[in-house]
Symmetry: C2
Subunit: 221 residues, 2 copies
DNA sequence: AATTAAACTTGCAGGTCTGTCAATTCGAGG
DNA sequence: CCTCGAATTGACAGACCTGCAAGTTTAATT
């Protein structure tokens, strides 16, 4: 998958550094799209965040929409990559779930750009995402991982049988994202600090508990 | 001099019907802002949804931003108004919570415009909302209502003591909103229909259960 | 009927933003 | 040394889109 032409040598030289510029553009694009959404983002603002010009960005990425799609694919790949380092096999199911919830909660908190991009894409009704086939395959791992843990718990009868990995992932994502996505309206209305400013450990503990209690099998009839 | 002259009579006549136009503009503005966000919305598109022109909208509302704020205040007032019809006093706390959760879940589902406006405002970091004092007072009732139910449950020892109304409202809102807000990315990635297209009763039941289990007091140590 | 003020429209001016095209710089290889 | 193609830039045209100013219609009032 490498186009290994003059990678090292060319990248080292100061002038004509396509790879370095490409990376810098992507980084600036993530920040700008996350901050202002697709329509609100300005190509000039992105260019200003680099040492280049708007024309160069188009030369590399072929336009605003394609750049946005590249950004989207990138941030999704990053979170799934980070998740791949979770080492859950040696944890009992309950602790594995706790680990996943805490990881997810922290990741959203520390990567507000990712969360904002996801929200922006949903506000656009997934219009751009539909054009990318990569999006679907990239996100399979988390469901497989979560599914494995849940299955183990179900075999041991410490998790209820009538939930599946997608249900659980949805609950975790919902509770974790809300603090980030709705921090401004919710915080302003109810005068409670949210997002990274709020009482992170307490709310994270709450989410873990909510999920784990839900997963417990019914004890009564 | 008061300007409440000829209210009824003037509104009845066909031509020059400011009240009717005002309402029509607001309705169109809700749809347009919800659909495209603040920046994405076009004043011309709003005007096209009425029988009037862009200039008239400015004449009435004083510009795009003030119109947006009016829209925001309106939709918040509407949900709180709808909530005020919940009759919870004659329900035991568990059933009252169920009632609140189901109402909220349904409301989000049936008022996607409201949800999209809230999301858009959060993406704008609450910038517009901060300019409106009304926003804070309008939203007090739901917390009072929820707080009353929780207090009753805590006195009866059927709800745990270490949660408050805002925690619970946050969990309910998070779980209820996610199906609407993230339906496009989540649905596309995991091939599961969400929002109004999904299995509404099942997911609504899940949310009720998640919240109620969380509220139960610890049974063990 | 004449007047007045609100309701409403038309057209313009200024601003912003994107994509592209022609031109230029630069590094590398012959 | 000189050519070639990739990298990079400046400038422009074409769309939009908003707010406003000036003019017109209409209903009520005198």
């Amino acid at each position: 998958m490498a186009l290994q032409v003059s990678v090292g040598s060319a990248a080292m030289r100061k002038p004509k550094a396509p790879e370095a510029n490409r990376a810098k553009i992507l980084q600036a694009a993530v920040a700008e799209f996350a901050s202002r959404g697709f329509k609100g983002a300005s190509m000039d603002a992105i260019a200003a965040g680099t040492n280049t010009t708007r024309a160069l960005i188009n030369y590399y990425f072929g336009g605003k929409e394609k750049l946005y799609l590249t950004v989207l694919e990138n941030v999704y790949a990053e979170i799934r990559h980070a998740e791949s380092f979770l080492d859950l096999d040696h944890l009992e199911p309950t602790e594995a779930i706790r680990s996943i919830v805490e990881f997810t909660y922290n990741y959203y908190l520390e990567h507000e750009d990712f969360v904002r991009l996801v929200v922006a894409e949903n506000q656009a009704r997934g219009r751009h995402m539909k054009k990318s086939a990569a999006m679907r395959t990239v996100n399979r791992p988390i469901i497989d991982t979560l599914g494995g843990v849940i299955a183990r718990g179900q075999v041991d009868d410490i998790f209820r049988a009538d939930v599946d990995a997608i249900d659980v992932h949805m609950a975790i994502a919902a509770l974790g994202m809300f603090n980030v996505t709705n921090q401004y309206t919710f915080g302003a209305i109810f005068q409670r600090a949210m997002g990274a400013k709020g009482d992170v450990p307490r709310r994270r503990r709450m989410v873990v508990e909510v999920v784990l209690r839900w997963l417990k099998p019914e004890l009564d009839g």
